[in-house]
Symmetry: C2
Subunit: 164 residues, 2 copies
Amino acid sequence: MTGNDLYEELTRHLSAVGSVRRKLGRILPAGCSDASATMLAVLGRHGAMRIGRLTELLGVDPSVTSRHAAQLTMLGWVDRKPDPADRRSSILRLTSEGHAQLAELSDRRSRELAARLAGWSDEDIRRLAWLLSRLRADFDAQRTGQHTFADPSEGARRPRTPAA
Amino acid sequence: MTGNDLYEELTRHLSAVGSVRRKLGRILPAGCSDASATMLAVLGRHGAMRIGRLTELLGVDPSVTSRHAAQLTMLGWVDRKPDPADRRSSILRLTSEGHAQLAELSDRRSRELAARLAGWSDEDIRRLAWLLSRLRADFDAQRTGQHTFADPSEGARRPRTPAA
DNA sequence: TATTGTTATACTCTATAACTATA
DNA sequence: TATAGTTATAGAGTATAACAATA
């Protein structure tokens, strides 16, 4: 059962991330929930998109995305226009107010993180971000079955920059 | 504003950890909540302790620890005996049923993680666990004020093995 | 018939505030 | 008076299921 302790330790530290996230959440501007902040960040990073794409990127149920998107729209931070390619859907895009809110968020977070991570090198931060993105990518990948070994026809399929 | 993008990326990936944790939570045995699993793991790793210590380790409000500890006690997985040093408090300890439950949890998680992290080296896993523990430690540290620079009297106070 | 998204509902986790018992 | 822990309550975030509109 080699690696059991390794997994146990990783799981414990992953659980503890919640504490960090809650502390980061306390610096949010009034009226901006944690979920709103996350959604603004994704739209800011990846640009306009449909609910379905946002759902994938957030890793939640579509019903959750739908509710939060409605919230952001009501706040005037996100604009929806019909998707010409599929009338069941619409395109979400940050408004100028949304961009402003995101900028305010980023400023606050930068100040907080600069203080908290004073002892971290840029390389440390990049490494952590990279490992987390890889973790997320490996959990998003469909389990292809119960076989233990990878398909031999796929030599180096490990993504080098997952979800950049 | 150097490092802003670095921070933005880190924050986004930290948010995405929730998705990973929820997927790991789906393999829990019936009757064992995610919070229960976390508490069992901490008690298994650090041994018997009081509510206060558990509260620190979990990084939540004492009221939360109290409620979940009551739950685990009711399930028979944790035993409470009076703290001889302070009658306001009591000592929490895993019962044999608690140990068994924790073992079952660890087995399930090991299988899941072994499948998900097939492409990871032990070193990758250790590095991620280490960076997360350091992140947590730096967020737990009391902000000593608004000064930007560390107290010169403290040479190398960066913990080398935070919350091991 | 399948897919995209929405709504109603319920559940988990957490924080705040008020409280009890002991230090 | 201060501290350890408990309980009541409220709020945020998410999932499930049923549904509407369109592909």
